[in-house]
Symmetry: C2
Subunit: 317 residues, 2 copies
Amino acid sequence: MINQLVDKIKKTGAPIVAGLDPTLKFVPEHIKKKAFAEYGETMKGAAEAVWQYNKAIVDAISDLIPAVKPQIAMYEQFGVEGMIVFQRTVEYCKEKGLVVIGDVKRGDIGSTSEAYAVGHLGQVQVGSTLCRGFDEDFVTVNPYLGSDGVKPFIKVCQEEKKGIFVLVKTSNPSSGEFQDRLIKGVDEKGSEERPLYEVVGEQVASWGAECMGDSYSYVGAVVGATYPEQGKILRKIMPKAYILVPGYGAQGGKGADLVHFFNEDGLGAIINSSRGIIAAYQQEKYAGYGAEHFADASRAAVLDMKEDIAQALAARI
Amino acid sequence: MINQLVDKIKKTGAPIVAGLDPTLKFVPEHIKKKAFAEYGETMKGAAEAVWQYNKAIVDAISDLIPAVKPQIAMYEQFGVEGMIVFQRTVEYCKEKGLVVIGDVKRGDIGSTSEAYAVGHLGQVQVGSTLCRGFDEDFVTVNPYLGSDGVKPFIKVCQEEKKGIFVLVKTSNPSSGEFQDRLIKGVDEKGSEERPLYEVVGEQVASWGAECMGDSYSYVGAVVGATYPEQGKILRKIMPKAYILVPGYGAQGGKGADLVHFFNEDGLGAIINSSRGIIAAYQQEKYAGYGAEHFADASRAAVLDMKEDIAQALAARI
């Protein structure tokens, strides 16, 4: 699946993933009105509004981009009805030829991570039958529990030719609270101190060596666009890891910040934008589209983002 | 809710939480056979088997214990059908008067953690209506993203009088890979090096000070029974945090290992056992019950566990 992702990035010329992270305040009033009229102001009504909103955006942008990243929390907040729409969104995006990265940030002890891994990427045994659950192409994984929390995901990736992105340095303001803590050098690297995110990055490179695609590993990393300097270092520590970069746009990351996340082959990074794309119509820049044409505003935002990244990459050469 | 948990622990004399972590290999054949006959070897069939299994166990032990901890991964592996049974299990246990700890280990950047927090503990706004999602009493939270990933949970806990348990030192063999890394002292504590789990523990104590119940905080911690020495230190670092202790039984933790997790008031810790209780009938010790009477075996295992902990606590005085 990492090979397919790389191919699609080359084909579209857009190292972009659209974050399908719908909150109801992003969904235009006319969609909510219709959904609530049909199902009431209920979880089902909310989920229906989210579904119609997602579908229109995906229809408007699926030819431009290689991948989408639905953030499961935004669906889980609506309980079971939200999870039904999460699944429907995953299926629909795959039908549209998009690679689907489930932003689930799961991670637990071994046997439990195994359950998450089969539920999101693999197949679960029911009697003599194998059944598929949410069936994303990639998921994000939290590394706090160490190797035996991550390896069950890697095992399923090897079987299914799917992939993961491990949280290394997240985009949020307080990510440094633990991730930046200086770790005493007590291993083969000698006595040099280095931040926790580098230690995690080294581990990602080591896990990734176990499952290589053609040029990149099935094991990628999450590094926030809001930390370009750290991105530069991590790019070197994990040369074969695709880096999923959140934090562009609304969180403050700019095109010029992104160049260090890419390798010299122009590959190796995929930039996420969520509300910058899906709620573009709420920005002054795209307000002319109006709420009725929110999906066209999303398309325009994707084209602008593509141009911004291309210019930044061109400027570095 | 922390006050209710403490009251129930006192009332039952059992600082025990039963981990409702069903995998199909724990579910007796006669239950699976019936469920598959009705719904086929499908996700729905698997979920129905899990539900019947859970219900029988809860009916057999709910008078003995204060709380249950369903591990959501074991439900999520069965997709949407699994999530329906997760919700049904949460509701049923609450009807039975049990405190429900959703073992979800969620954690993300601020706005996303907020969605998880309202979805699992709070209420989500749909139009002018407030709706409840999974509605557990407590959830477990992963701290890797720092304060702005944890605080949205704390905010909802303050509003709803609910609680969280933050992962500090997990029970699995490789938990030390990152959690035990020695952190250079760069803060008010001076230059002394200490492991990451202590730094996280200090933060738990600080978060917890913001929302105290009568004698313990709404913000608790997860510390594995498999690491009793670390438990001893963490007990002192977080005196007001209730410690949720996984790893008893199947993972290797013994009654004698547990005493250091408790405060001198005999409170402050609640010990989880999952397969040791729910799959007791598969152990040699309880094999006499047979698969037909699996729930009675679970009851016997709870009574033995209660005795083991009581003896260990008595022996320390």
